[in-house]
Amino acid sequence: MGAISLRRVEKTYGLPPKGNKVIHGVSAEIADGEFVVIVGPSGCGKSTLLRMVAGLETITGGEIEIGGRVVNDLEPAERDIAMVFQNYALYPHMSVFDNMAYGLRIRRVPPAEIRARVDKAAAILELAPFLERKPRELSGGQRQRVAMGRAIVRQPQVFLFDEPLSNLDAKLRAQTRLEIQKLHNELHVTSLFVTHDQVEAMTLAQRMIVMNAGRMEQIGTPDEVYHRPATTFVAGFIGSPPMNLLRGRAEGTRFALGDQTLALPRAAPRTGEIVLGVRPEHLAVARAGAPAWSMRVDALEMLGAERLVYGLVGGALVTLRIDATLPPPKIGETIAIEAPNDRLHWFDVDTHQRVAAAAAVPA
């Protein structure tokens, strides 16, 4: 019963009319047991949104529902949620056991049950040997697990994660990511996970909310977000290296970009100024006879299994990803590349919204 409902949620700091609006009408329905990641660049409002669900920030517009109850006026303690903070927020003067037991003791859970729950969580998180230690005696990864343990024992309706992996080093991050996934598969608790890292988002999310400047740009599964980005922001934010976004003038199967006129494998959805998007991994060295674009190579990056080729097409910067087994082009050389039939994305120049292609795109 931990479904979350966000209805036109808004946040304004300060009093009108001079107030500063940081969240503009976010709406989303999150099913019980779903793992949703809120991802976006720094300052986009994702943490603010999470804290509004937690009750740590007031909701100045719209409604938030948890488990069927509208929680706008409820204090954090009354919302039946648990939160994992970026800096762990463990009580430094208490042992690991007491940290995890704190919330349960407040709710007058009988000591035997507290012991049982803490032991169970410690077993899942491999914290059993550390129960009597203080947080300062633990490593970063262990502290993060204690923070998760504290959330688990409460058995809440919703887990909230506020960039919990950002303070860990790269290797630990990957490890902890897997642990979070495992945990979710075992416990099936509705989870909202905030991060600025799109890799974390893509790997953990059942669905993602992509945010930018206080607005929800898109909500969808990682596949949907990756293959059918709803705006140029999403297109450029998800995927590494980022999607090539080319602004030019389309007419039928011709696309005027700078000083070049590119041949398109399929007609553009409309005539006029438009933004063409195509991912670096979908561009390829042109086969003989295919409609090709001319690219002047500027730089190369060798990444082991693949190569990144950077260059100019019609004056615009374009990135191309090719397999490392193919012979690399030379810098300064002009090569012919081709764009795929079905992997082109079109966006409106002014609204930045996706424009439907003329024919269906396979998912």
Binding site: A54, L56, P76, A77, M83, N87, A89, P92, Y102, R154
Partner: protein, 293 residues
Amino acid sequence: MEKRVHFGSRWLPYALVLPQIAVTLVFFVWPAAETLYYSALLQDAFASKVQFVWFDNFVTLFQDPHYLASFRITALFSAIVAITGLALSLLLAVFADRVLRGASVYKTLLIWPYAVAPAVAGVLWLFMLSPSIGILTYTLRGLGIDWNYYVNGGQALLLICVAAIWKQISYNFLFFLAGLQSIPSSLTEAAAIDGAGPVRRFWTIVFPLLSPTAFFLLVVNVVYAFFDTFAIVDSTTQGGPAQATQILVFKIYQDGVQALDLGGSAAQSVVLMIIVIALTVVQFRWVERKVQY
């Protein structure tokens, strides 16, 4: 901590250190040595006869009921000033912490009394609690309390306590505020999500984390009560009535400067020196313990 870089010069460091060392030797070390020396002497006021008596002065001191009374008064006084002062400023700091509007205004208004001289603080409260014309005296009379600290020793003690606490609140407040602000807000947020209300959060999370600051302030306040309050006593009760407010440091002054009892006041000074040293050592040792977050 040492620096790995240093300048080579034979005479310069001595020249630089000289002014401070000179003043220290002349006005600190030498008089302190003299105090130690005098404390072992029995000398009459005209210095015509001098007798070396080792620890006799100390023995006399600790058998003197006036001295013991002074000790008790000082202990009581510092306990009241320290505990009340700390409790009040903690309360104010907690209330002022993270208040959205006007936090800095409250802070400014509550810390400037630090600038007031203890002597002036004494005079202000003397004026308000003067048995004849004091405005607070008038209010107390209206409530049925007969206020006259010239006659009532307990009231005199109360007077100097109030003046001392009034002056010290701003200092404590400032440190408590800084201590509160160094506790990451995510800790109190986590506790709130765990279900702890504001009072429980304070006692189980905030106060334990504030204890290093509280302890440090306790030591500072005790030192303050022992030494810096001389001016308050001298400007209000002068140790009276009947030695009811004769704190140790004031007794030294009275016995030394007014009664010219060199040996006795020197012995008292030595006792006080030992107490300061003990307190300073405690302060240095314990301030080393910092809590990590």
